[in-house]
C-alpha cells in the first residue's frame, strides 16, 4: 500500500511500541529474524497507516512465525501460499497495508508459482523474504537459494543445484520493486521497508538473514563487519555507485556489462561512475545490479528497482466501480428478471 502522509490528525503518532506484543518470541537466540522484526516495528509508525489497517501474512517456516510476534492483524497460512492469501486480502480491501513475510523455501520452492504471479500482477503488497539459504524450521535441509556445493542434511556431498537469486526471479516476473537488505544493518532495513511500503505495486525485499543454528555465517563472507564495505554496495537513487572502505571503488558499464573500477586509476573519476536510477522502467541495469555477486562484484543492497505502475487491486477496483456506474442492473433481483423471462 502506498503510504499516505495523512495519519488521522486526532491520533497521537504511533511508535514501535504500538506494534509490540507481550507474547514470547520463539526464535533461537541470535537468530537474524529478531533484528528484522525490530526494524519492521521501527518502520511501521512511519508508513502513515493506522495500526488496524496493517495486516501481516505469512507461509510456513521460522520466518513465517512473524505475524504472531507483531501487533497488527495477522494471518499465518500454509507453506508457500502467503502470496495467495495476501492477494485475497488486498483485493477484498485495497485500503489495507498488506505485508507478506516468507522464507527462501516458502517463496522460492513450494511457493515459487505464487511468487512470480503476484509480481506479474503487481498487487500492491510488500514481500519480505528472509533469505537464510536454508530450511530453518525443518532443521537444516538445503533450499533453492543455497549456494552450490553447500553441505546440508539433504546434501551430504554438497548440493548439485545452482541457486535462485530472488531478485533475478523478481525481475523475470516483471517485478516493479526490488530491494536487498542485511539483517545486521537495522537502519538500512527500516529505511528500505518504508520505501517498500511507499511503492505502488508489489515490493520485494530480500533480507540476507542469518540462521545461527543451521546455516551460521552463510552471509558472513559478504556481510562480515571487516569485509562488508568492500563487498557490498549500498545503492541510493540519484547517487553514484560507489563502495569500498575508502569509498574508492565504483561501477561503470562496459561492453554491455557492469565493471568494477578504482577511482583514480586509469583516469577514472567519480563522474565516470554510474548513477543509480531506481525509478526507470528499463529493467536491464536493475537486472545486472541484482545479479552481482562476490567475488567478481560487490553485492548490491538498497532499493535496486522501484518503478511505479498501476497495481492489480487498483485496476480491478476501477473496473468494478466503472461497471457499477455504467450498468442499468444494480441488484441480483434486476439481473435475474432481465433477459429471457417468461410469465406463465
Amino acid at each position: 500500500m502506498a503510504a499516505t502522509n495523512e495519519t488521522s490528525s486526532a491520533q497521537p503518532a504511533l511508535t514501535r511500541n504500538d506494534f509490540r506484543l507481550d507474547q514470547p518470541v520463539k526464535w533461537c537466540a541470535g537468530c537474524g529474524d529478531y533484528a528484522i522484526l525490530s526494524a519492521v516495528q521501527n518502520a511501521l509508525p512511519e508508513i502513515g497507516m493506522k495500526k488496524e489497517d496493517i495486516v501481516f501474512v505469512s507461509g510456513i517456516g521460522c520466518s513465517s512465525r512473524f505475524p504472531y510476534y507483531i501487533n497488527t492483524y495477522g494471518f499465518h497460512g500454509l507453506h508457500g501460499r502467503a502470496a495467495a492469501v495476501a492477494s485475497g486480502i488486498k483485493i477484498a480491501n485495497p485500503e489495507l497495508s498488506v505485508w507478506i513475510v516468507t522464507g527462501d523455501g516458502d517463496s522460492m520452492a513450494i511457493g515459487g508459482n505464487h511468487f512470480i504471479h503476484i509480481l506479474r500482477r503487481n498487487l500492491d503488497v510488500n514481500i519480505l523474504i528472509f533469505n537464510n539459504k536454508i530450511y530453518g524450521l525443518t532443521k537444516g535441509q538445503y533450499s533453492p537459494t543455497s549456494p552450490k556445493g553447500l553441505k546440508t542434511k539433504t546434501s551430504p556431498d554438497g548440493t548439485i543445484e545452482p541457486p535462485f537469486i530472488p531478485g533475478e526471479l523478481a525481475m523475470g516476473a516483471q517485478g516493479t520493486f526490488f530491494a536487498r537488505a542485511v539483517d545486521t544493518e537495522p537502519k538500512q532495513m527500516t529505511d528500505i521497508f518504508i520505501k517498500a511500503a511507499q511503492h505502488d505495486g508489489t515490493s520485494v525485499v530480500e533480507i540476507l538473514q542469518n540462521c545461527v543454528i543451521f546455516n551460521n555465517k552463510i552471509h558472513q563472507e559478504i556481510t562480515g563487519k571487516d569485509v562488508k564495505d568492500d563487498r557490498i554496495i549500498y545503492l541510493e537513487h540519484g547517487k553514484p555507485m560507489i563502495f569500498g572502505t575508502g569509498r574508492d571503488k565504483g561501477l561503470i558499464l562496459r561492453n554491455a556489462g557492469l565493471q568494477v573500477v578504482n577511482i583514480g586509476e586509469n583516469g577514472i573519476t567519480e563522474e565516470d561512475l554510474l548513477v543509480h536510477d531506481a525509478y526507470t522502467p528499463d529493467i536491464a541495469l536493475h537486472y545486472l545490479l541484482t545479479r552481482m555477486n562476490y567475488p567478481e562484484f560487490p553485492v548490491a543492497t538498497g532499493v535496486i528497482r522501484s518503478f511505479p505502475c498501476e497495481p492489480y487491486d487498483q485496476a480491478l477496483e476501477r473496473q468494478v466501480i466503472r461497471s457499477m456506474e455504467e450498468s442499468r442492473i444494480k441488484t441480483l433481483e434486476g439481473l435475474i428478471n432481465s433477459g429471457n423471462v417468461w410469465q406463465i
Binding site: E52, P67, H76, L78, A83, G88, I91, M324, N340, I344
Partner: protein, 617 residues
Amino acid sequence: MGIKKRKIIELEDAVVKFAGDSGDGMQMSGTQFSDTSAFVGNDISTFPDYPSEIRAPQGTIAGVSGFQVRIGSKDIKTPGDLADVLVAMNPAALRTNLKWVKQGATIIIDSDSFDEKNYQKAGFTSDPLEDGTLDGYNIVRAPITYLNFTTVKELGLDSKTAEKTKNQFAVGILYWLFDRNLEYGEKFLDDRFKSKPALAEANKKVLRAGYHYAETIETLESRFQIIHKEERKGKFRNITGNTAVAWGFIAASERSGRPLFLGSYPITPASEILQELAKRKQLGVKVFQAEDEIAGINSAIGASFAGNLGVTTTSGPGLALKSEAIGLAVITELPLVIVDVQRGGPSTGLPTKTEQGDLLQALYGRCGESPAVIISASSPSDCFDYTYMACKIAIEHMTPVILLTDGYLANGSELWNIPKIADLPPIVPPLVPDNTPDFKPYRRDPEKLNRFWAIPGQEGLRHRIGSLEKEDVTGFVSHDPLNHEKMVRLREEKVQRVANYIPELKVWGEPTGDLLAVGWGGTYGAMISAVQDLQQQGKSISLAQFNYLKPLPRNTEAVLKGFRKIIVCELNLGQFAMYLNALYPQFKYLRYNKIQGLPFMIEELKRKFNQVLEGKE
C-alpha cells in the same frame, strides 16, 4: 404442392436430441428449441453432452456433440432417458445416439452427409440407411446441406459461414413437427446474432426454409402436440446449474451484506461459474482468476479473513489441490464455500461427464480431523438454493462448506421459478463491534459454537490467526495436548450442530414400507421419477434424497428405520452407502451403482427397484 393434413399425436412430454459435429451448432439449436418451448408454457429440462475435444476431426465419433431437451406439460424432472426425436447431422451422430432413441422414434438426418466417406469415419461397415439398422424408426431423410446452401446462396455468404446455418434447417423441421411459433425462434436468432444482423437474417431464412420443407414433404406423417395443462404460474427463466450457483453466491452476498470474492481456476465442468461471476462486476463481485486451484482457495480464505464472502469453485482434480487449504479454513474457522462440480474420475478421468465420485474426498480428503459441512444440490435450479444455504451456513457458523454439484446439474438446465431475493432467509454474519473490550478471537457462540468474525481495518480488534493449533478462547498458538483434543472436538461439534439449523430429511411417499430408495444430490430427477412411477403402480416404495450430507439431517435414522429394505443408488462405487453404514450400522444397505459418466436412467432404476421389491436382488 398441396399440403396434406397430418395426424396429430398428443403427448405429455417429448424428448428431442440434437446431435452433430461439435462445430454444427447443436448446443445453440437445442437451446433455441427449449427456450421457445418454455415460452409457450412447457416445462423443460435440458442436458448437453459434449466431447472433451474442442473440435475433433469432422465426422468422427469423438467429435459428436449432443443436446437433449425434454419438453412437457407437467413438472419435468429429468431430460429423459430416450429420445422421441433425434436430429443426426451426420452418420457419427447417428451411430453414437441410436442406443439412446426410443423404438419407433422419428430420426431426422442430413442425407447429404450420409456417404461412404462419413460411414467410414463413423465406423459403419455398411450403409445404415439400407442394411436394416434403422428398421422400425421413422426416418426423415432431408438433404439439409444442399437445401441450406440453396437457401443462403443469394445472400452471398462464403461457404464456411453458409455451412454454419444448416442447423437451422433441422430446427425449422422441429418447429413444424412440434407446432412451435417461428417468431420465437427468430427472436432467439436476433438476440444471438445481435452484432451480426446479416448472420441473423441468414439463419432466420434457413429456419423458415426448414419449417416449410417439413410442411411440404410426405415423410412426416404426423405432428406432435404437447398437451397444454396450465399448472404452474409465475415468472420463470431457463437456468443451468452453473449459472444458478453463480447467482446463489450473489444472492448470499447481497443478503449478508458481505462483498463477494471468487478465487478460482478454470476447469471443466465448473468454469461457467467463474465466467458468469467475472461478468458481474456491476454487482460489485470481485473475481480473481488465480494461477492454480491452490491460489484460488487461499485467496478466497484471505478475502474471507478480510471480511468478504470468500468462495472458490472447481471440479474433482481441483478439489484435491485445495484439500490442504480447506484444512486451513477449518482451523482458522473462517467462512468459505468450495463448490465441486463433480466429473468422471480418477485423475483427469472423464472431464465432460458426470459422476458422484468425490463424496469421500469432500468428507475425508484432508489431513487431521478436519470437519467441513458437506451439502449437495439436486437439480439445475436448486443449485441456487443450495449455494445460498452453503453461504448462509459458512457465514453464520464460521466454517468451510463444500457444495457438491456435478456435470449433469452444471450443464443441464430447467425452468426456474424466479424468487424474490428479499424473501430468502436472512444471513446474519457474526460480526464484532469495533473496540469490543476483551475481544478474544476464539471465543464462541454458546449455541452454534462459531467463533466471531473480526475484520482487519476494525479498530481495537487486532488479532492473529493461522494454521497452527490455537488455544481455546485466546487464540494463542498452543501445543497443549488437552487443548488440542478440546479444539478438535469443538470443531467437530460445531459442524454437527449445523444439523439444528437445516431441514429434516423429506420422504417422498409413505414414511414406512417395503423399500426406501436412497439417493443424494444430482440423481434426484431420475430417482423421484422412478419412485413415483412405481408408487403409481401401487408398489410400496419411498424416496429419501439427501442434500445435507454432513451433518446428516437429524431424522435420518428415524427415516431409515421405517423400511424393510434400503437401497442406496449412486454414480460411484457406493460411497454414500459406506458412509451411512459407518454412521448407522444397524441397517442393511443394498447398493445400486453406475460409473459410466452418465446419469441414471429412470427405466434402469425402476428395473432395479422392482427386482428388490420382488426379492430378486
